[in-house]
Symmetry: C2
Subunit: 231 residues, 2 copies
């Protein structure tokens, strides 16, 4: 692992307040692995052996059931996944696969649990991280139950615009089929949702999305901090 990668991981809220020794133990126990795109890193229902840290690339968390498949979230660098399963030493509820060539640090669950017991500051960070994750999921439930597909798309676009660089411009980092699963709809329905929001101040050209009339889009999306504000 390059020193700057270690620094980036160290800067994560989850690790930032941990003692130097704790962090060193975790990194030492971990394996840094490279994966090509499309590799399944984790399978739902498997025992949760590792905490994963995405150092580079893009990872999709997804799940299946009742003959369908859906996407739960996208993990960008530097981000972690399946902390909760590791802590409760339970099975995974979600699967994970790379969307791009990726680099992932895999830290054995036991190392994480031991570090937590040994370092109260690290445990406190875990509490904060889990609370954030819980609240993210509550927001996602609200998003799904209270909004139509086009509304979810409109609010997703506004959120992406907030968090990414250029004002009023968003470039899709992954395929639209992944976005459709993330938003809880079929690819066909996503296409139609795009034609809907084009009437409300959005223009698209392939993966390039532009907000041309923000007030109109806001009127349509009606964003709420209690759903859309990132945790």
């Amino acid at each position: 692992m390059r020193p700057e990668d270690a620094d980036a991981i160290r800067d994560l809220p989850l690790f930032h307040d941990a003692r130097e020794e704790t962090f060193a133990d975790l990194v030492r126990a971990g394996f840094l692995q490279r994966f090509p795109p499309g590799v399944v890193l984790v399978n739902e229902s498997d025992p949760a052996d590792f905490l994963h840290v995405v150092v580079e690339g893009l990872v999709e968390m997804f799940a299946t059931g009742s003959g369908r498949e859906t996407s739960i979230s996208i993990i960008r660098p530097v981000g972690t996944f399946i902390l909760a399963a590791v802590l409760n030493d339970d099975m995974y509820l979600q699967s994970a696969r790379t969307l791009e060539k990726s680099q992932v640090l895999m830290i054995p669950g036991k190392a994480v649990r031991d570090a937590m017991t040994a370092d109260p500051a690290f445990m406190k960070a875990i509490v904060a991280e889990l609370a954030r994750g819980y609240r993210r999921m509550v927001k996602e439930v609200k998003n799904q139950k209270l909004r139509t597909g086009a509304e979810r798309l409109a609010n997703w676009l506004l959120q992406e615009d907030e968090s990414s660089g250029e004002e009023g411009y968003v470039e899709l980092e992954f395929e639209k089929r992944v976005l459709s699963a993330l938003l809880g709809m079929t690819p066909e329905n996503l296409s139609r949702a795009f034609t809907v929001i084009r009437k409300h101040g959005v223009s698209t050209e392939g993966p390039c999305l532009r907000i041309t009339d923000r007030p109109a889009l806001l009127r349509f999306a009606r964003p709420s901090p209690l759903i859309d504000q990132p945790e």
Copy 2:
């Protein structure tokens, strides 16, 4: 508070491993309040001042957005709510209202955070509780995104049957309108979902629900431990 109520709270996973002193501090800092049915205890977007423990009665967690309202979960005695908001000292994402005459212990957020810092065993229990809550919400997202309304109803019924006493018999503890919101549909749609599952081994009479042909219901519901197994 009656001694047996204190004992019941002490037996919660969240408090069970806490030191005697920690628990005493928390109870001492808390207020035990009685409420009639239909009282809103907590309003989404308010600052999270208290951890709530439902000692008696029934509390509905719900949320609004985009002009609609939905129910997130039902808290039965003895259960807690909005731990995550209290820990992150953030605003509530959900509202809470009593469905019955209820008794609620309200513990100031600061007392919870102080107790957590002072008692590692309590903090460890908080970690486990948050991880459980997170996983519950992941399951709820999967439930919503992967299943139709009738499937959600069928699986809800199977789950209730598991956790409640009499095999093959479930008595609805609250109004069907609440159940419909919990399952993410309108009351009208719930009525129709009931007529659907009546063709798959269920008979109903008011709030009395009976599973008359479990294999048929299982075939229809296709339950999955990764969605339906309680955390």
